[in-house]
Symmetry: C2
């Protein structure tokens, strides 16, 4: 008797109604009399019946599955986002099917996989999609939202924080703190987040007639960021380093303090980006730009669902402001309040 699935027909038989009556009772926009509904519900209860989502999906064309493409679960920001996203989608009756983007892998292959599952929508986290791929999704009528990544000139929705403004604010803060030799270990410059933060930082310096003493791509990798930090200290003698995200900043902080014996922030100030929970831990106390992850996820969900319900809706590019969070890894200018002097 194991594995014997109970179907709507079983329930119908027991309740003494037609199978379609059962269906109606379990369909939100249904029309069934209170009496039938009651009978059906009792029979279903007794039998332990639950509608088969897959069968329903075949008819309605809606699987209530959202595909999530994600690459770096090592960076705490993404598990957090995944957690928030899964909860928010669950509240709307959707669930998340995970697709890990192995780095060497063909993106087209992965998209095939996704489409095979008839997902109702796709969100990419920290993963770029070529315009060819987004075009395929559009052709298949499947909305895509890029989370924490933008794409120039592509017809995709995206939700990011104000990365350019954030980078600029860091420059202003550091300058106000009396630093004069500013270095930047950027996020991967192949990603919009990496580029925008770097551009904002450069713009902030330029506005004060300054320019960075060093600027290197950290590729969003800890090992690489650590190596780059060592070089930068040796060769450029910076008194402050803006690091493209917290994940790398932790590695940089460790490298300076432990390997190089540098006093942070007395000798060198370090600033990160994201404000993951670990940034607040005493061992790091990382001064950083907070990405409003809750609102970013909320925006991602509402954008995606809106697009699922109205496929012809134009793409949305949402950019949410973030704040500089003051801690102990960077010297603090006197009189600095609310992100301004």
């Amino acid at each position: 008797m194991t594995g014997m699935r109970i179907t709507a027909a079983d329930v119908a038989r027991r309740a003494g109604v037609s199978q379609s009556a059962v269906s109606r009772v379990f369909t939100p926009g249904a029309s069934a009399s209170a009496r039938t509904a009651e009978k059906v519900r009792r029979a279903a209860e007794e039998l332990g019946y639950r509608p088969n989502v897959l069968a329903r999906a075949m008819i309605t064309g809606r699987s209530r599955i959202i595909g999530l493409i994600v690459a770096y679960l090592e960076n705490q920001f993404y598990p957090l986002a995944l957690q928030l996203l899964a909860r928010a989608l669950k509240a709307e009756g959707y669930h998340v099917l995970v697709f890990m983007a192995s780095n060497g892998e063909d993106a087209d292959k992965m998209l095939d996989d996704l489409l095979d599952y008839q997902v109702d929508g796709i969100v990419t986290a920290s993963v770029g999609m070529s315009n060819a791929l987004t075009a395929r999704c559009a052709a298949a009528g499947i909305p895509v939202v890029m989370f924490n990544r933008g794409q120039d000139g592509a017809d995709v929705s995206s939700v990011t924080s104000a990365n350019r403004a954030g980078g600029q604010q860091v420059a202003e803060f550091l300058l106000a703190g009396g630093h004069r030799r500013l270095g930047h270990i950027s996020g991967w410059l192949g990603a919009s987040t990496g580029r925008d933060r770097a551009a904002g930082f450069a713009a902030g310096l330029a506005a004060a007639g300054a320019e960075p003493v060093a600027l290197v791509d950290g590729l969003y990798r800890q090992d690489h960021a650590a190596a780059v930090a060592r070089d930068m200290i040796r060769n450029a003698n910076p008194d402050a380093i803006f690091v493209g995200n917290d994940h790398m900043a932790f590695a940089v902080l460790d490298t300076l303090r432990t390997d190089l014996g540098i006093d942070v922030p007395a000798e060198v100030s370090i600033i990160g980006y994201d404000d993951v929970p670990m940034a607040a831990w005493p061992a790091y106390g990382l001064t950083t730009v907070r990405q409003p992850i809750n609102r970013m996820v909320a925006a991602t969900v509402s954008t995606l669902l809106a697009q699922i319900e109205a496929p012809e809706r134009p793409v949305a590019r949402i950019e949410l402001a973030g704040d500089l969070i003051l801690r102990t890894s960077a010297r603090q200018p006197e009189g600095w309040h609310d992100g301004r002097l």
Copy 2:
């Protein structure tokens, strides 16, 4: 023309064969002549056809979806496991549907959700399931593997590391290092992992005629562990604390060093459990028991798939050995090698 799905019938028409011929070409254990296969494949290519996984699932009774129930993505161990699990399952043609166990939530409700999606199997990570729930899964013919958690007397497969032996090894190591006042901030004692590590630790002490000076449940929560650590230092004056997992150990380490100004390990040694990547970072240098996460995931996948293929297979309880990893948060006994004196 957007959203127009291409079906096997479309391909059949274009290739000049029957629809079932198309199906056969796309079914692994098929029987089709090279000529037909070729024609079909070309037509499919031209049309951009891909089989509908959901329709296939209805017939075969296999969705190729594995439900993952997970609760604490804050503890780095679980995102890592998720990542490994998703990749391993993908290699076998399965994908992971995520179910976040919100703590206040009814577990039965969540299981309903899972079963609705006709998942082929379930893995729970750091989440217990009542015997009633595992019974429901068994009745539905859906195999379950508990990852990093056991269940006494339940008919479920589980994959854990040798938690009891690990706890015992920690006790021996600490004793050999000359510590005499050993405290334990355990993992949640409602979980087998928390209990087993605590029991092993106590057994290790007992074997030497000792007993802990303090033993408190840390509930696997950082805030709680930090508070408990403060109390323990004040009231029990331990010279070493074994913490139930790395996640809590980081908080304890921070509390001792930063809040309490204690020199670790000169005054107090700290040992964790898991060996998440952060444990190796210089800021922590956490001495800890490594859980063989790669092998644990591999065992989880093979157990689950074996059970999917042969439902009558008896449940497996797999326990993998872990090693004590020596770093700088605990005083090191002279002559300690390979986990032994």
